[in-house]
């Protein structure tokens, strides 16, 4: 993975110094909360319901074991012994004090991490495919480009006061695990007819109050134009994006109001006017960055592992885990292992400092010392030798990180909701816990097949409910929590915004309603059809009727 050089270190340290001064000015009364708020947000610090919340950036979800150990240490020393992985491959702490945050950043800087631009109206963490570099369906590793973009957008002097937040995601694979359709800019590596590799560029996707699927602005962008084109999009957005209404300030609204053709022509005009050579990275720098993402030193192994065959035959739990959480690797003899942060009755995405330390150790032993965070709030050990799977599984079971539910109904994306978040209108975590308990029976869980179930505690949609196959949105009605169901959404290559199925359910009834939906699917599915496919084939009316009539 990428390693800091002197420049990266200097910049990170200088940012810590600057932030420390900003905090001390606030505590001394030399800056108002109004002025301080955007400054602390640009460094990932929120004020939530009970306390401050600090979001730490994990560029495109890649962590070294030393970094994860530092995250564990910070969780213990400055928080309550745990952290929470987000949908954008970051980690957040729920209980730091304002006074401690400069020291936390100092600690992070010592392991080449920071909280720069993890919130606020700036360019956020560039996210990517958690299986980058190891997935068999990948055209090219997107991480070098993610790192190039990360650097270009870090402390960008022109784009640090954008109309609203700005999120870039990039993938190099067929199967979109980075949700590029619902990002401000989505990039997909592909080849043109001449056989050259470049990017399809999407713009104006996003969730929140007004969900939009991104629109193609460039079918093929040559690699050398990447930075210059991103600058053009951002410059048009910075100058033209709405500043009169914060709810209409995202680029998706600008693209929607202008129309993609008009927006694209503005970008093209700006792109053509910008100086080509200035923003050309140069082959030497591209090569330097690519070298950090070279494949690790794989051993020469066979895909047939006697250890795995033996263990699977006698151990159903292992076999289920192998079938569900372990994915094919592009390198013979290796597997991709998903660590579920969705245990039975757990809080989706939460992880204790002890678990972090243990996972760091497992990464050192089994996966070249690296860990990845996923968009769906799980972790990945990306380079595990097949022969090691039985030993790794045993360790993961002991850590409660081996629930075999990847992409199953209890693998829920869930925002913090009203248990933590000051914007939330309802709780989301208790719904996730109860759903995982309702679908606790493994045979049932696995029989249901793939379902992406996403829960948000308010219309800001941090839990991505719009793009869940089943989406649940918490709302407040007369002082009580109600939950609205959307169906048919997806954030993958078949991306779509889910449709509201009908009136909201009470907290008491929502779990039964989901179970009923699953029942409708089971009794109507054909062959290996997923829930989403059955829904799209039958249409909303069938599900709506069955859900509400029987009630």
């Amino acid at each position: 993975m990428y390693q800091y050089d002197q420049t990266d270190h200097t910049l990170t340290r200088e940012r810590v110094t600057e932030y420390r001064d900003q905090v001390s000015r606030r505590l001394d009364g030399n800056i108002s909360e109004d002025d301080f708020r955007p400054l602390r947000l640009k460094n990932g610090l929120y004020m939530q319901l009970h306390a401050y919340m600090l979001r730490v950036g994990i560029p495109y979800g890649m962590m070294s074991s030393d970094q994860l150990r530092m995250l564990a240490y910070i969780g213990r020393k400055y928080d309550k012994g745990y952290g929470h992985f987000t949908t954008r491959q970051n980690l957040q702490y729920n209980w730091p004090t304002l006074e401690d945050t400069p020291d936390i950043l100092e600690n992070l800087a010592s392991v080449e991490m920071n909280a720069i631009q993890t919130s606020g109206n700036v360019n956020r963490n560039v996210t990517s495919d958690p299986l980058a570099g190891v997935a068999p369906d990948e055209l090219e590793d997107p991480r070098p480009y993610a790192e190039i973009i990360r650097q270009f957008l870090t402390l960008h002097p022109e784009f640090s006061w954008l109309p609203r937040k700005f999120k870039v995601a990039i993938t190099g694979a067929e199967d979109d695990r980075a949700a590029i359709n619902v990002h401000d800019i989505g990039l997909k590596l592909l080849k043109n007819e001449a056989g050259e590799t470049g990017f399809r560029v999407l713009v104006g996707g996003g969730l929140g109050r007004s969900p939009f699927i991104g629109k193609v602005i460039r079918e093929f962008l040559p690699k050398d134009d990447l930075i210059r084109y991103i600058q053009a999009i951002l410059r048009v957005y910075n100058m033209e994006g709405r500043r009169d209404n914060m709810f209409k300030a995202r680029i998706k609204i600008l693209v929607h109001e202008l129309g993609i053709e008009k927006f694209a022509s503005l970008v093209e005009e700006e792109f053509q006017a910008s100086e080509e050579d200035v923003l050309f990275l140069g082959q030497a720098e591209e090569d330097r960055i690519k070298a950090f993402f070279a494949a690790p030193d794989y051993a020469d192994l066979s895909d047939d592992s006697p250890e795995v065959i033996e263990m699977s035959s006698g151990n159903e739990a292992f076999a289920q885990w192998l079938e569900r959480n372990v994915l094919a690797h592009k390198q013979a003899g290796y597997s991709i292992v998903n660590l579920s942060l969705k245990p039975l009755g757990g809080v989706p995405g939460d992880i204790t400092s002890d678990q972090m330390d243990a996972v760091a150790g497992l990464a050192d032993t089994f996966s070249f010392g690296q860990i990845r965070a996923t968009h769906r709030q799980n972790l990945v050990l990306a380079d595990v030798a097949k022969k090691d799977l039985p030993s790794l599984w045993q360790e993961l079971v002991d850590l409660n990180l081996a629930t075999p539910n990847l992409d199953r109904i209890s693998d829920i994306i869930c925002c913090p909701g009203m248990d933590y978040c000051s914007l939330a209108t309802a709780r989301s975590i208790p719904i996730a816990k109860r759903l995982s308990e309702r679908f606790a029976d493994l045979d049932t869980l696995l029989n249901i097949g793939e379902i992406r179930l996403n829960i948000s505690g308010c219309i800001n949609a941090c839990g991505h409910h719009h793009v869940g196959h089943i989406g649940i949105l918490g709302v407040e009605k007369n002082g009580e929590e109600f939950y609205q169901i959307t169906l048919g959404g997806s954030s993958s290559e078949d991306a779509d915004i889910g449709q509201i199925i009908g009136p909201a359910f009470s907290s008491e009834d929502i779990i039964d309603a989901v179970e009923k939906l699953v029942g409708i699917y089971i009794s109507n599915r054909e062959d290996d059809e997923r829930f989403l496919d059955t829904y799209r084939r039958l249409g909303k009316a069938v599900f709506k009727e069955a859900l509400y009539d029987a009630a």
Binding site: T7, E14, E158, W161, N238, M239, E285
Partner: protein, 163 residues
């Protein structure tokens, strides 16, 4: 109000002219874009330096062909979150070739100064209450940068490979 130019405290010799004020005389005046666009010919042959002030919604392409007429361009930052003038500053310097004083006015606090400088501003009118010494220091908050802008800092992707 403290005016910093190139990192030093200087006296402000300019005066903002209201749209109904007379432009004759030899003082250094800053006029609105409306004034300039309504009667550009009136400024021909005027003695005394001329500046123009753009609101944050007024794009600099409106004066792209006129930049040589101005000794000063003031760009307004009406509120802290409004960052349009960062783009405007760069365009004036890098695309339209403005060489005179580029001044940030409005809500200007120390935390924006480094970025303003990188976007081509050589002068800033500090908001009331800003610590002047700290503001001057903030111009050097960072010694490295990842991207080129309107200043002389060479981006990391070039310095890394220069022998």
């Amino acid at each position: 109000m403290t005016l910093l130019k190139n990192g030093e405290i200087v006296e402000d010799t300019w005066r903002n002219l209201a749209d109904d004020e007379d432009i004759s005389g030899e003082e250094s005046i800053i006029v609105s874009l409306d004034r300039w666009q309504n009667e550009p010919d009136k400024f021909n042959g005027r003695n005394g330096a001329l500046g123009i002030r753009l609101e944050s919604h007024q794009k600099p392409d409106a004066i792209a062909d006129d930049v040589e007429r101005f000794d000063l361009i003031a760009l307004d930052f009406p509120v802290l979150p409004d960052g349009r003038a960062f783009s405007h500053g760069r365009l004036l310097r890098e695309r339209y070739g403005f060489k005179g004083e580029l001044r940030a006015v409005g809500k200007v606090i120390q935390d924006q100064l480094y970025f303003m400088q990188r976007c081509g501003f050589d002068a800033v009118e500090l908001s009331e209450g800003e610590d002047v010494a700290k503001s001057i220091a903030a111009l050097n908050a960072f010694t490295v940068a990842y991207q080129p802008a309107a200043d002389d800092i060479i981006p990391a992707y070039k310095t890394r490979h220069d022998a």
